[in-house]
Symmetry: C2
Subunit: 375 residues, 2 copies
């Protein structure tokens, strides 16, 4: 079976394809985001969807994070089992099976809060909380322009009042995922989108407080690009970015990181040189994930580090297609490349473990412990 | 932790999101492909990249398949460990780590053949074979128009001669992956692409035999769409389609299956109804994979079974975005949908096990034993 990398190995000794994570870069990324959150006066609750790694989450908590954010209950189970929390489950929990597991987690002492966007989802959670004699902290998700989850802002205060009226629910405030900041065409437009998002949530919190719905309501926003705009984050009480811990080609395209801040890279090898302008490497969608770059003017599936003359222009399951722009470039079967992926969170979900490296040598394997926890 | 489905459960009792595989449909798909191969007089060596399941491969072999095809050495290891073979590794094996594992597999008695497209890749394999006192069966991959791997047809006979000259290599014939058949705009054009591919490989085999390079050389082609054109497959000695065993939205779009022939479906649940024309379900790219449909005129990420008024128009990691085309459609939080994915092979690579069902009840869990075997 596969020979696993062991501490002290050089990158050349790691078989391909594989995913390496530079721990020096990870630690610098963690420090930078923590400093932004502290400057803003917000609690940082990083979303673990990026690393899915208890080791990395423990680094984030040790650096000052106030807790972690997860998408799915199964992720909460994994991180709680590793002693990590408090945990915000930023996803509506629906159905008897999930409520039963939520009960088990609460009975095991997990410190949880939940984000949701309807009374339909909140009511069974409230009933569970009452049966346990507790109040469940809940964030109300508002659609501030991303058009994914979230109540219409026009209905947000009324829904907040309805939630606050459910015995067993303790409303924490208003939350949004401002993913539409990615569509901003430049830094000024992105700053405006963040300003509008935060402004809207603050206004809702003020209105709900003025209406006596709750004494103190917070404002909770996510997103790595948000960290670029600390001036727009005044009044935010919780920040829950995820991707910043590793970064990727999307974040670089958005201006929130440099390519050298991208901690996670694919290590791959040329297996064929079928034509003068094409090489095939041994990493495809099963290594990178198939996420497109989704940024005007950019194409392809990754940035080949140190090789501007090479473009990863297509992926199939086990094949990466490299276009060689410089006819004089030497590239032979067996040559190795390092490639920053478009979307590192999706990539991590493909791998049971990645290889933690420092200064070009293997330090430790990082189990992607919450990989595949979709329920 | 997650409650796993158990035999006898109904689909309503399975928590979401999950992947169900209808075993009646699988068995019918296997019988149909086997009949095509037998009609053509070719050996069927199904590519296991689709199911990645030893249970399913055993069904294919029991139905008459002559062996299996894999992409990566790690997949060969998993299937050999389950006693399944002979195995064609349809991928160039490069580097000392892989050669060492190839040796281990051969010493364990695995019946292997390998596809490759260069003397650079073949030479170390030949040396390994000589050291073991065996001859390694090798297929030479030719680029018949798909522009992935494969030697230029103009160089194919010369490369074949060079391979045949390597002691330790036994050339089996010419192979291609005619994935460009997917770009054919209608059945007639697809038939022509298959005809050209097979014709080219047969001509190369004839020329190489006439030149005395080998006495008998085979023709080896892959692809589920190829099964639609048995009249174009005369002279093919090995067929290695993969996706037919489950089928997916791409295969349906290509005309090689009906939606009811799609064995693998995502079971998902509405978690939010944020606006009258939008529902969010609990399955995103971590359940479906992000593969686009890649077919002119088609968009989206899956077909919602039995609901032409619903479109899965976008995926994010844990979110499926459903557009509701009929304003009168009832769709509530907790409602369940079944969705056929764009690309079932990529989807299978996300799941440690899927749920085998028959007549609406769980029969068995199917471990996706070769999931993630990228090396």
């Amino acid at each position: 079976m596969t020979d696993e990398p062991t501490p002290g190995m050089t990158l050349e000794e790691i078989d391909t394809p594989d995913v390496i994570v530079d721990l020096d870069v990870v630690e610098a990324n963690i420090r930078r985001a923590q400093a932004v959150a502290e400057g803003v006066g917000a609690r940082l609750m990083p979303h673990i969807k990026t690393s899915k790694s208890p080791y990395v989450a423990a680094l984030q908590l040790a650096a000052g994070a106030a807790g972690i954010t997860v998408a799915k209950l199964g992720e909460a189970e994994v991180f709680h089992a590793h002693g990590l929390g408090p945990i915000l489950i930023a996803y509506p929990l629906v159905g008897a099976a999930k409520l039963s597991r939520l009960r088990t987690l609460l009975e095991a002492g997990a410190q949880l809060s939940i984000a949701l966007d309807s009374v339909a989802v909140a009511s069974p959670i409230a009933a569970l909380a009452r049966s346990l004699g507790v109040r469940m902290p809940v964030w109300l998700e508002v659609d501030t322009g991303n058009h994914r989850l979230g109540v219409d802002p026009m209905e947000a205060v009324a829904t907040c009042a309805a939630l606050a009226g459910l015995e067993g629910i303790e409303v924490q405030g208003f939350m949004s995922y401002g993913g539409h900041v990615n569509a901003g065409k430049d830094a000024a437009e992105r700053a405006r989108i963040v300003r509008d998002e935060v402004g809207l949530l603050r206004r809702l919190a003020g209105e709900a407080q003025a209406a006596g719905i709750a004494r103190s309501l917070g404002v909770n926003v996510g997103g790595t690009l948000h960290l670029m705009f600390p001036d727009e984050l005044a009044g935010v009480t919780v920040l829950r970015p995820g991707t910043y811990v590793y970064n990727d080609r999307m974040v670089v395209a958005g201006g929130a990181a440099r390519i050298e801040d991208c901690a996670a890279q694919v290590l791959t090898q040329v297996v064929s040189r079928p034509s003068p302008d094409r090489a095939i490497v041994d990493a495809g969608t099963k290594t990178f994930a198939a996420d497109p770059i989704q940024r005007p003017g950019l194409t392809g599936y990754g940035t080949v580090v140190g090789h501007p003359e090479l473009e990863l222009y297509r992926l199939q399951e086990e094949h990466g297609f490299i276009r060689i722009l410089d006819p004089g470039a030497q590239l032979r079967v067996g040559d190795r490349l390092r490639i920053v992926p478009n979307h590192v969170c999706s990539m991590m979900n493909l791998h049971d473990r990645v290889v933690g490296v420092r200064q070009g040598r293997v330090e430790r394997l990082l189990p992607v412990a919450a990989r595949g926890r979709i329920r």
